[in-house]
Point group: D2
Chain length 343, copies 4
């Protein structure tokens, strides 16, 4: 059994790790920390766990964490940056669900996150963990940067097009939509039910923190610069991300579907839909799957790619477990075989 | 491996059976029938199953069903009544998620369901499958009547009070609230999003079909007549039932909590909350758990019991699997260990 | 034109006053105060007002308020208690949408609101403003206590039964359900979309602050003590209250409908539904109407009364304007003729 | 008083006409037709109208319709095409909320609507009623084609850019999102609450009927061909449309805001937001307003325009009334001054 610890377990990615790891046959959660809730039963905060877990929130310096094989950081940015090193020195693998190690350039990171990146060395050793792009590197990672939710959906939508050089890289539009859980569990007037339900809006057009992450990874895939427009929107629902990506095909007559099939036919968690089908976020609710469909616009070179994930699973905690499975040489899908909750 | 068949798999209880049985280590679904969708892939109707199931809808007379060990009827009332006998004769166990065998008096059934009950003999052999009340009988059942969703929530709320003779049986009020999935997946103007979201209403006050079922079972528990008022309401959400039950304590000063603890401490799926806590339907969303809390009204003999279940799990498909586990001598919780989806 | 001021305009009752008064032909809003938002444009907080209002939040001591004919307090409890007197001395009428003057016994108020009531004299002069019960007193009020949302729905459900002495007063159960806007606009983890949507729960069973208000008013109507059980629940929607009230008829065979018709046929805002109909909260969304239906439980003396209101309109700001109209001798429905928003 | 009739009043645009016209000081609704509900009270279908309207559904050949000054068709396509002529011959103005007269080319219409257009002559006389583009023609219209909801939002987003020749017309992407009421009130499995809430998806990418309408009108504005990609999505909410439109500026350094201000400063129902603000659909819920914001993507020539409307008001019934006001020489905003319902 792999011993796992969780730092910062009071948010939605924390409880989602607990839910998913409860189903994992090879992992035991030893400790979960929270400064603010230290000493409280975890099930008093997350009542879905009543009767299923006796965990008690401890402090981040809980000695039990040092006996773990892997520690997940489910913390706001800045926390994993300071805390990861000590675990890694002890030979404990670290998976950061936050943003501290996603941007490879420390200065770029500092600019987007309004905070100096203090761990340039750690940053260099970090592996960006989108398994479908980077599986081999993940296998040997000791410090894993778990991708953001939007970046996961957008990269999976574009990978076969970019690696096969099928599109004009200078004009990519990613119009993305997220459920409200992406905004976290903190008390926040802007995400009250009465402020977000029965409404729809864009946000962060002038600069969302997932923009540089997406751009960096697409450019790595492409081996050159990429012109990206990224607009996130808030959807009145709890879970789910829908990316609608618009690209210009270099050859209007090419059939892109086979490139997607080739890229993903061996991927357990990426599913190509039949022609004419539309992915719905509810199809992947609570599951680690990504569903993708492509649609060519008639009489034009415009292609629309639609991809959906559950932002808390494939967009966060599920992908973190998928990465953990790879890092520990286990079957990649262990603990993640659940079918989505529909309806 | 137990071979299972599903008759009538196009509704929400059908797809929920598929989702839950996918997690069951000892069951394989061999066939799923639908007259209207015969020949269509199941995942074309339920896109959560894409890549996870190759099942194809067949006709109800599909020969494969005759090779099953158990057949689930997830059909409108009247269908299982006609179809169950043939399977039972072949030694195949039948679990009816519908209402055909829940009311032990055929005349009473006929009155509430506007249809003559044609199988009085079968009806006599049927076992009402609320495991917490009736586990021993379930063990030997060949024809199992799976309880309704409201009846499950209300019975679990009242059982310790009735069996211990703590309340006035003549004045029980069950004010119940259900998510919209309880109304089924049929095209129906009344359950459109635009008709049901952002609204709340009662329905069926003058006579809901779960009323005689609840009354029958409470009276069986009590060994005498019961005065029951049952009012169901529709909640603008997909899943969940919340029963708020009002009773008069015979002794205003008695502490009822220990009776609940005694009744349920060995029950895997019934969880008593701490004093002062309120059960939320989301705590059991997607899981087979029932959470219960009791609250005494100060300066009165009124007691309020609140119980929550997921209507599609403990209120339907999960309980059906729990019953199946018991009928086949397996661990009662097999395949049902998942934690609720929160948020 | 009547000059109106609003103290504490940053919550949902504040913006609802602005919306409704915008339609009122005889009222002009002169000032709206907010300590925290002083100097900000009101439409920067409530974007529905962009282009429709040039109001700017001022401080509560804004001199313009002293030139008003009426001042609405849309503030947390304790604020109107301290501030109302100064306006009344100047001859300005005060309508308190909060709770400070609803409970006639200062000690009782202090116990429920965890704060000493400092204005016993003002309290004595205050008029409880449920027009359907108390219209004559409202006409002459200078300090008006606008009823709570639950109390409005419950009182209107019970009035004809109590005044006509048709029910057992010792056993009234009011099972009430409210949309989330009733919990206010403050940043609060408990009312995030991700915590409240797709869920349903009870709260405040052991003592909600509307309990003593309902009890006081019912007892005033009855002229004797009343045994009341009141359980509020939270519904995953923005607006609406549904009260389901259970009473025991003194005479099982009496037809109560005519008593309701008699009580409300001249009431502009209370509508009796036809037999067999169920009121839906959406039918009164955005409007000042209350819709009521009654349903007798067969073979018992139990009667169920269902009433619905929009908690922000008839349950708060709309009723406040209705009271204002009466206090100023205007047509009671002025500015409140809008039909509910459906869907 | 203008006498108005409504043909086909059983859908959401029908009841919305009734709600809005109830507030209109110069219009009286004389008749509302429905073949299926002939003889039924309108308030029995739309309970928001109980006590506010005594209308009874009649047949479409109701003689009262012939005494009207204006007839609104709120019908599926094909109905107004056949019925409009008879009213026009009698001198009755016709406003079609459906699609029959929106596409000026009868063959093009026939192709998109799978039905032969039989009234080429009427079609020629029809005026496309987007007042902000076409006010003068509307004044003299006898047959008015009320625009579709998506087309309204997209055209208002683009008008100042196209008329001022600021953008590359060959690459316009309109990523649009609509609440579920846009799909109508018919019994339809696809729009059940359980199928659409807690989910998000695209639809109609390969050809939505609003595509040719948008393209036609943009090309009319531009005086040349336009390359348009239009992808509609379904949002889990009742009302609202959000258009996110992506264009390439011809001059990356131009400030487009003044062109929007100039275009709309005299428009009562189009509101430009401040820089950095994002329009939310809830801000215009229940109102006839359109709110628009623009955002330049840094370091690129990409401009994002966001516009929101209520699909049932400015996207349907409200705009129809706005057009009626113009056609009858009344104040354009009469009956439409209500502020949006927030929250």
């Amino acid at each position: 059994m792999i011993k796992a610890g969780i730092i910062g377990g009071t948010g939605y990615t924390g409880v989602e790790l607990l839910r998913l790891l409860h189903n994992h046959p090879e992992v035991e959660v030893m400790a979960i920390s929270s400064r603010s809730l230290n000493g409280k039963r975890v099930d008093s905060i997350f009542p879905s766990l009543i009767g299923q877990s006796d965990l008690i929130f401890s402090l981040p310096d809980d000695a039990v964490l040092n006996e773990c094989d892997v520690v997940f950081f489910a913390t706001p940015h800045g926390v994993a940056m300071e805390g990861a090193g000590a675990f890694i020195e002890k030979g404990i693998k670290v998976i950061d669900l936050g943003a501290d190690f996603r941007i490879s350039d420390a200065n770029e990171w500092s600019r987007w996150y309004d905070m100096k990146h203090t761990q340039a060395e750690l940053l260099e050793s970090a592996v960006y963990g989108l398994p479908e792009n980077n599986r081999d590197a993940v296998k040997n990672a000791t410090l894993l940067a778990n991708p953001g939710c939007y970046p996961t959906a957008v990269q999976l939508a574009l990978k076969p097009l970019i690696t096969n050089k099928l599109i004009d890289l200078s004009n990519i539009v990613a119009d993305c939509k997220s459920g409200v859980s992406g905004a976290g569990r903190g008390a926040n007037q802007a995400t009250l039910l009465c402020e977000t339900s029965e409404s729809f809006k864009a946000y962060g057009v002038s600069g969302h923190r997932h923009f540089p992450e997406i751009k960096q990874e697409l450019e790595l895939l492409a081996g050159e610069g990429v012109g990206l427009t990224f607009v996130p929107h808030l959807v009145p629902m709890i879970r789910g991300i829908h990316a609608t990506v618009y690209v210009d095909l270099l050859d209007e007559n090419i059939d892109v579907k086979p490139f997607f099939v080739e890229a993903y036919s061996n991927e357990q968690f990426v599913i190509m839909l039949d022609d004419g089908a539309y992915p719905e976020t509810r199809s992947v609710k609570s599951s680690n799957f990504c569903q993708i469909a492509v649609q060519k616009i008639p009489n034009s070179n415009k292609l629309v790619i639609m991809s959906v994930i559950d932002n808390l699973v494939k967009g966060a905690s599920g992908q973190a477990i998928q990465n953990m499975n790879i890092m520990f040489g286990m079957d990649e899908g262990l603990g993640l075989e659940q079918i989505g909750l529909l309806p």
